[in-house]
Every structure is written in C-alpha cells, then in structure tokens.
C-alpha cells in the first residue's frame, strides 16, 4: 500500500512519467525564453540607460545661474524662455508645474521688451485673456486675430523663428499677472521641473531606429507580441509531435 501510494505523485520538478518529463523540459525552455525576452530585456534597458538631457536642458543649464540672480543678458533670457516654452509644450506637463513655467515665460518676455513693447504686450495679453474668458468657440474671428497678433509680438520679443512650434504656444502661456515679477516659489521650482521633464533615460537601444520605431518601443509594442504568439504556436506543435512519438491519444 505504501509503495502504491508513493507511485502517485506529480511534481513539476520531479516528473515520474515520460510524458511529464518531456512536458517539463519543454515548459522550462519556453518559459526561460519568455522570461528573458520580457524581463531580461528590460533589466538590460535599465542597466545601460544613461540620463540624457535634451538640447533645451543644455541651454537652460548654461543660463540658469544668471537668470536666478536676475542679471542675465538678452540672449540668455531668450534661451531661458525658449527652454521654459519647450517644457510647457510637453505632453505630460502637470498643472501645478505649469504656473511656475508660465511665470518664467511671461516674466522673460516682459523683461526683454522695450518700454513701448512692454505697454503693447500687457495690453495684448489682457485683451486676449478677456477674450478667452468670453468666447464660446476657439474659432471666434476676433479671438483668432488677437491670438495671432500677440503671438507675433511675443515671438519677435523672444527671438522665436516663424516656423518654430513654440510660436503657437506663446500666446496661450503668457499671463498678465505673472509679467513683472519672477516669483520666489517659481524660481525654487524651476530646476526640478527642468530636470524632470528634460532629462530622459536613453541608451543605444532607445536611440536606434527600427521600422521607424525607436528600437526598444518596437521590441515591446510589436516584437514581444509576435514572440508570444510564436511561443504558443511552437508549444502546440511540439506537444502534438510528442503525442505522436509517445503514441498518446488524448
């Protein structure tokens, strides 16, 4: 009885039948491929990544010291405003960080404007803000005209090229209440905002392009799914073959 009882044991790691052994070996091989492909790749991605700054961060870093002391040159102020606008146009910008950047851009534009431009700038911003709160649709002709004229004025003050994407953002990011003072709380927040949004985890796996994708993105979004289907297909083919070899009829 005792020996009989011991005959009936199933353990993945100690297979007792030929089929169970075959199955165990196949499962281990496929799960290893699966685990290395998914987790191994991502551990590798993690191991080789380097914090890589965007051009906007490099420019910001060069000028920040003088900006924070409020003794920057015109060129430095423009570069700072450009970097701040680059973050404001980001896809993931958080609401609470937006106001610090809006303050930075508004203040920079106001500082860079000559006395005549200062009056025009404030008037245009206030007019645009009023219109923004009144209109029902962004296709309102007066709203569009004011936005365009403010964008042209601010872009020329900040030295933005005509086809620069940031010219489309500038009129929406200026705030009349933020122009005269670069607030202490904004100043305090700017370094961490810049490093959060403008430094990225990059490596040759993220920079190399494959079929138009950054390679790592292609790997996870396309290749891994193909691999999963292939592993499943391979498993079924091998199990069918094993059943034929061992003459098993399910």
């Amino acid at each position: 009885m005792e020996s009989n009882q011991n005959d009936y044991h199933i353990s993945f790691f100690k297979p007792t039948t030929a089929q169970a052994k075959w199955n165990r070996n196949l499962a281990i091989k496929l799960i290893l491929i699966w685990a290395v492909a998914v987790f191994g790749f991502h551990f590798l991605l993690r191991a080789i990544e380097k914090p890589t700054p965007e051009e906007a961060y490099v420019q910001y870093e060069k000028v920040w010291e003088n900006i924070s002391k409020e003794n920057a040159s015109i060129e430095e102020m423009q570069k700072f405003a450009h970097s701040s606008l680059s973050v404001l146009g980001k896809v993931f910008i958080k609401t609470e960080q937006k106001s610090a950047l809006q303050n930075a851009v508004s203040w920079s534009a106001f500082q860079l404007a000559d006395s005549a431009q200062k009056i025009m700038l404030i008037d245009e911003v206030i007019k645009f803000e009023t219109l923004k709160s009144e209109i029902n649709s962004i296709s309102d002709p007066e709203y569009i005209a004011t936005k365009r004229s403010l964008s042209e004025l601010a872009s020329s003050i900040l030295g933005l090229a005509q086809n620069d994407v940031r010219t489309k953002l500038i009129s929406l990011e200026l705030a009349s209440s933020d122009m005269k003072v670069f607030k202490a709380e904004s100043k305090e927040l700017i370094p961490s905002i810049m490093s959060t949004y403008l430094i990225h985890n990059q490596s040759f796996l993220t920079d190399f392009k494959f079929l138009g994708f950054p390679f790592h993105y292609f790997y996870s979004a396309v290749f891994l799914l193909i691999l999963f289907v292939f592993l499943c297909w391979l498993y079924c083919v091998r199990v069918d073959k094993m059943h034929l070899e061992l003459d098993i009829d399910e």
Partner: protein
Amino acid sequence: MKKFLLPIILLLSPSILFAAGASTQLEGGFKIGPAIILITILCVFVLVGVIFRAKDTADFYAAGRGISRIGSGMAIASNWMSAASFLGMAALMYGSGYHGLAYVVGWTGGYVLLLILMAGQIRKYGKYTAADFIGDRYYSQGLRATGAIIAILISISYCVGQFGGIGLMFKWILGLDYAPAVIIGGSVVLAYTLISGMLGVTKNMQIQYVIIIVSFLIPLFILTFKFDYFWLLPQIGYGSVVSDIASGVPIAETTQLFNALGHEYAMVPSPEFVMPWDPATGQTFFQWIAIAFSLMIGTAGLPHVIQRFYVVPKARDARWSVVWGLFFICILYWSAPAYAAFGKILSANPEVGKLAKDAIVVYTAQLGNVNPLIVGLLAAGGVSAAFSTVSGLLVAGSSAFAHDLYVKIINPKASPKMQLLMARLGTILMAVIVTLLALKNWALIAQLVAVAFSLAGVTIFPLFLLGIWWSGSNKQGAIAGLIAGLLVAVIALTYFIAGKEGVTLPYHEFINYWLGAWYFAWIGAPLAIFTNIVVSKLTPETPLEIRKFLVLNVHS
C-alpha cells in the same frame, strides 16, 4: 455593382444623414448617428444569437465540436477584449507613454503561461467552474465557497472598469454628464444581459470579434493615410509617429496638416512619451516590471478566461485555440498604441484642453477629422466590447452565486425555478454594486481592470498552478496560501480605497508604491505559493484518490 450597393446605401442612409449633421466638436450634445449604430450593433448581437440558438438546440454538441480552431480563437479574443483593451490601453499610453506598454505586454504574455502551464491540464481535469476545480482538487466545500466568492469579487472588480468605459462612451454619444451616463449605460447593459438570458441567446463571439476589431482598425487606416504615414500596415506605420513625438514635429512649410480644431500637426520634442520609466510620467522601472508580471499571472488565473477551456471538446483544441485567440487579441494590442501616439500630436496644442484619457481613442479619431459616422462606429465598437465582456461576467458571477454558493452550499434542495430566480437576482445585485463603484471614478479603466488581475493572481493562480503541477499541495496548504494572498490584497485595496476617499493611513506612500492596487500580485502571488508549499509540507498528505486522478487523468 450599383444594383447591390443601392440597397446597402438606402439601408444606411438614415444614419449617414444624421451623422453628417453631427458636430466635429469633441464633446457636444446627443449624437444620433453613433446612437443608431450602437443600437443596431446590439440588436445584431441579440438577433444573431437568437438565430444561432434555433440551429444549436437541434444539434448542440455537434455544433460545438464543429467550431474550428480559428473560430474558437475568435471566441477567446471576443471574450477577452473589453473596454480595457479597446479604450483603456490607449488611455494608459496617452497618459504615461512607454509605461502603458507594461499592460500590453502583461495582458498578452500571460497567455504563454496560461497555455504552457494550464490550458490542456485544466481541460483534462474536467470541471466547469474555477470554484468546482478548487473545491474538488482541495477536497473542501469551504474552499469551493471561497473560490466562488473570489470569482464574484473578480467579476465585480473587472466590471467596474467596463462600466466606466460604457459610461464614458454613453456620455459622448448622449451628451450627458458622467454620472447619469454610467447609470443609463449600466441599466442598458443589465437589460441586454437579462433579455439575452431570457431569449436563451447563444453568444456568437466570432461576429462580435469581427465587429469590434473592424470598428477599431478602420479609423487607424484613415489616420495613418491622412497624416502621411505607412497606412497599409498602421501597426508598423505608427512607428514613425512615435519617433516624431520624441524628436518633435516642426511646423511644415509646404504641406499643411491640421487637426479638427484647426491646429497645425506639430509639437515640441517630447521624448518622455517614448523613453522607458521617464521621470516626467511619474512611473518607475519597478512599477513597469511589477505591472507586467502581475497582469501575466492574473491572466493565467482569471476565472472567466480559465473557464473557456472547459467548454472545448479536446485538450488539443484547447491548446490551439489559445494560439489563435492570442493572435486575434494581438491584432487589437498591436493597434492600440497607435491611437495614443496620434492622440498625443493631435491634442498637443493647449487649446485642445484636458481630454478624458479613457475616451482618447474616440477623441483621436475626432481630432484627426475622421468621418463622424466612422467615429460613431468606433465608439459603438467600444461599447460593444464592454457589453460582450460585462454580460459574460454578470452571467458568470450570478451563476457562481446561484450554482456554487446557493445550490451547493446554502440550499441544496432548491428547485430549478428558484435557482434561476437567484441567478437573476444575483445579476441585478452585481450590476447595482458595479454601477455604484463605477460612479466613484477611482482610476483609469485599465487600472481598475488590472485590480481584478492582481486579485486573481494572488488567489486563483497559485491554487491552479500548484493544484495541477504538485500533488503535494493539500487542503491546509491551499487555505494558508489563500489567506496569505488575500491578506496582501486586503492591505493593498484598503490603502487604495482609503487614499481615494481622502483618508491617510500610516505608511500610505510606502504601501501605495510597493503594493499598488493594480500590481500587488508581484509579491502576493509568490507569497501565496511559498505559504502553500510550506504548510503543505508540514501537514498530512493529499488523499490518494486526488493524487491518482492527477497522475492518471491530468498528466497522462
């Protein structure tokens, strides 16, 4: 040719006429075109079900055996593809870039585990529900009841995200606020489930799959074509969209491309959308790995997924249906990130405003100036995906209540009429609970659904894995493992709900990070397995008949 086209055009004309008048505004009032499409699709589901029922009753089993592997694969895919796949995945990637791919990888990679470790063996075991398997394998009525309760909880958790998706789409179609849209959507899905049940509708999952996938793919072909990418295979063509987001899209000087609101197709460089665990997204490497792992083991432990393998005639068919099912699921999963990528560029101008992430698939099509009729079809496809999953889950949950709990434990002498009444009451009760939870709007659809996966990962997955592969796992081990898994789940969910309700518990940041509600299975599952093994080793051996059954029936 015109002879054939004319009746089709006439048939479609009311919706075309109404849709033509629909505004291109992202939100707005009642949209008659999409509403008609949605009603039509739901009626088609019910009608086709009724027609197939008439055929099936005559030769039900032969018909079941006659379903091809491809057909079974489509059924698996249709059963799987819910609002989380249709709406939620694009939402996650829109909101957190590469981090969202953890969900894509997790929800597909889990099928490899399911196939290699479970599908064939589950079929050979020959039970009908997860609770049945647990009760029999661990020779315990208490565990059977616990298994049934867990299956109901998983169904509820899974449905909450679906109701959120239904609510968002009803909000868009009917032009209502979220709360009334959830209540109306919830009522419609409940009515649909009850009517389908009363008519004895046989769900034709192949047709559901075709409608869902076609509605998802058409706008994508249009978007890639319109914005000058490789449109013949948009699942590859959108790679250049991703690269464009990383490097920025300058304002074109020659060809002018605009979104529906008149903004240039342009944006500043945004590598944070593309780069892994970017600080800007607030997500980390650990979270990526934990989510992918939790979703994978959750997939292999979801009762309604496992249950599909009981109904196929042979173990071999069960295995091959997984291959086809995964392929059909991947068609959607290869495509969903493209919506997120297009959505990012098309909504880059601050004037677009903050969009509800879970509806980004529809907003992207709208912003891309896709024909309102096709956008309506897309929205209706999203609702259909949620409906087909929810109705299945409500039925599965209510049968667990009526069959596994009421008949097997509470009232074994219940008449079939009483059992039916209990099932219907169970369906209504579940729908009410789910609606109330969906109104809370606690998280994104995919995240809410991921809670169900983690719950399955810490409870059902360890019981099935050890139950199939180690005869040494016994009743005591199963109980201890289940307690360990549930303990992790309770801690994680308590902190999650408390946080959402504004209550700060001790160490809330630590717990919310390491035991996130949608990935607590990364530690809960190994802990449950370890506890099960240790306790099983210290307690009396599994009865001989169970071990014998495993050796002779499951592994031979």
